[in-house]
């Protein structure tokens, strides 16, 4: 297993073609705009070496029996599912942002589950190929990015009917030794600081979209792959100094990029789906289920940080005992723990798939994520409320350090005794970073937008069974337990009751 430093050094061995701000970035590792994301991903490596966290950060490989980083593990039990979300909360607490590596973890597990099922139906050998690939991932402790979302173009048209065929990643040609693919994947988390890319289809494909039913893995610097790194809220503050960024060490959200595949060759041994369109729904839903469950872990870890920060600011301002402040902080805690309860529940209610890997409870995972799309906004709103208007009017670090203005600003931002003004500004900047920036829409759309969760919730709700329950209670359908209790037919029972009422034989008359 690599540690954080070794992970960063390992990225130097890759030669990615990355564009940002209109230029090709020569060294990913040395670029200040990228460094916070790299530090965050490095945390997933570093904590695996800390005896205080190894129990949840590492696992035993079911393929080799060796200790591996849990981010490369295939869940073998309910306990693994639970430890996975505990790991998410822990990393959220340690970084205050998205640590990126869970996408690849969910991709590994979803492809593992689905390739097994494809082979059962078609007699293919995708699962064996995938297990060989997984061995490499575990042995090298790689971080693969999980590339699912295509650019999608005109959503009313099928992938095969798009004006620009590269809107969706697809097979251009099948060769004896592999396939040639082209297309693009949008807003892929951690893409530029991953060793590998695992692709998955973005939606359910029909027969006409057979060439788009595609999953494979390639090195991140494979020939024909380019990246365009996306902007984030206040990103260039990283170039202004240390303080203004809010979380200069770990940044904001996951560092997303567009990945462009131009005539990329993928050898067959790294192809895990090539045309089996009837399994695209399973792959998408399995991945989405795993990924949506994570949000009840990582975002709650972030909530722990922002709740702690809000309480600290309240103390610094001398308002920590005000009843409305206590009430707001308690609301934040209750919402965060509600989301935590959801993710624990969907893990404890998980099940063993035919492949042997464990999957979360899909309905509860979607409920988890739907709650996140609402509650993160709500607890961040309360964080802004507690912090006060300063979070949007703070002066720059340069003014704080300018001899002309530094003294008056120190007076302006003085708080209670024992709370240095610079520390107060640091904390306010952190709350600004977490509650105003890109983290909010990320909580909304990451792992799928709310409508996607609602589709899956509706599909899996068992509404017909609920109607049957209501019909029994309402007396529309026979209630065998009630008849057991009263010892007779229900209709006869109510006829008797009615007679008693009519004859005033009921006690209260």
């Amino acid at each position: 297993m690599m540690n954080g430093k070794e992970y960063i050094e390992s990225l130097r061995g890759l030669n990615l073609e990355v564009y940002f701000f209109g230029q090709r970035i020569k060294s990913i590792v040395d670029e200040p705009m990228f460094q916070p994301h790299i530090h965050t991903a490095a945390m997933t490596y570093n904590l695996a070496h800390d005896p205080e966290h190894q129990e949840i950060m590492t696992a035993t490989s079911h393929l080799t029996g060796e200790r591996i980083n849990r981010f490369t593990h295939i869940h073998q039990s309910i306990d693994d599912l639970v430890k996975k979300v505990r790991m998410m909360r822990l990393l959220g607490q340690k970084t205050g942002t998205c640590f990126q590596r869970c996408v690849g973890l969910d991709g590994l597990n979803a492809v593992y589950v689905t390739t097994y099922d494809i082979d059962q139906k078609h007699g293919t050998n995708y699962h064996e190929r995938f297990k060989n690939y997984l061995l490499e991932v575990q042995k090298n402790d790689w971080m693969p990015s999980g590339a699912m979302t295509d650019a999608r173009g005109d959503r009313s048209l099928r992938p095969s009917k798009q004006k620009y065929p590269d809107t969706y990643l697809h097979i251009k040609e099948k060769l004896e030794d592999g396939i040639i693919v082209s297309g693009m994947k949008a807003h892929i988390t951690g893409a530029i600081n991953s060793h590998e890319i695992i692709t998955m289809p973005t939606r359910t494909m029909g027969e006409e979209d057979r060439d788009f039913a595609l999953s494979f893995a390639i090195p991140a610097d494979a020939k024909g792959v380019t990246y365009i790194f996306s902007r984030q809220t206040n990103d260039t503050r990283r170039l202004d100094g240390v303080l203004d960024g809010g979380n200069p060490k770990y940044g904001i959200v996951g560092g997303e990029a567009i990945i462009i595949f131009k005539d990329v060759f993928v050898p067959w041994e790294r192809v895990f789906m090539a045309g089996e369109y009837e399994f695209t729904n399973e792959l998408v839903e399995t991945f989405a289920g795993y990924h949506r469950s994570n949000y009840g872990g990582c975002k709650v870890g972030l909530a722990d940080v922002v709740i702690g920060g809000s309480n600290w600011i309240a103390e610094a301002h001398g308002i920590e005992r005000a009843s409305h402040i206590v009430d707001k902080l308690t609301e934040m805690i209750a919402m965060a723990e509600t989301c935590w309860s959801c993710t624990l529940a969907c893990s404890y209610e998980g099940y063993k798939t035919p492949s042997g890997a464990y999957h979360i409870h899909p309905l509860l995972a979607n409920v988890t994520k739907l709650n996140i799309t609402r509650m993160v906004y709500e607890w961040m709103r309360l964080a802004q409320d507690v912090a006060g208007g300063k979070i949007i009017t703070l002066p720059s670090e340069k003014d704080l350090e300018n001899p002309e203005t530094m003294e008056i600003l120190a007076e302006c931002f003085a708080g209670k005794e024992g709370f240095p003004p610079r520390d107060i500004i640091k904390m306010l900047r952190l709350i600004e970073n977490m509650s105003v920036g890109a983290g909010l829409p990320e909580a909304m759309h990451g792992a799928g937008s709310p409508a996607a969760q609602k589709i899956m919730i509706a599909r899996r709700s068992g509404i017909n069974k609920k109607m049957e329950l209501a019909k029994i209670i309402a007396g529309i359908r026979k209630d065998k337990y009630f008849e057991d209790i009263i010892g007779k037919n229900e209709t006869a029972h109510w006829d008797e009751v009615k007679k008693k009422i009519k004859g005033k034989k009921v006690q209260i008359y």
Partner: protein, 108 residues
């Protein structure tokens, strides 16, 4: 006559109608002239246990395996039987085939 120990999970939120599955199973067996002795008495010695879990989480299977009972069992886990996905309406038919395999019934 082979005996089947029938065990249901608690049924907190089943994805399938467990009693309907068993009713249809018994009807299917009867149509094929296959006679099996079903019992819900946990103390009875049986040839095979049939675990009816309402969902894939399969609490009953977990409990059964921990008890260290007879290893011979078939587990219905919502729309999954043993380790295969099976739609609810096909579960009785699937079970009959399993019984034929496991109990060496002559196929009809």
């Amino acid at each position: 006559m082979p005996s089947i120990g029938l065990r249901y999970c608690g049924g907190c939120n089943p994805q399938i109608d467990r009693s309907k599955v068993i009713r249809k199973l018994e009807e299917g067996l009867k149509e094929r002239g296959m006679e099996l002795d079903f019992t819900t008495n946990r103390q009875s010695a049986v040839d095979l246990s049939l675990l009816i879990n309402g969902c894939m989480h399969a609490c009953l299977e977990e409990e059964y395996l921990m008890e260290g009972n007879s290893p011979q069992f078939i587990s219905v886990k919502g729309e999954m039987v043993s380790s295969q996905y099976v739609k609810e309406e096909y579960i009785p038919e699937f079970l009959i085939k399993k019984f034929i395999d496991v109990l060496n019934f002559p196929p009809h």
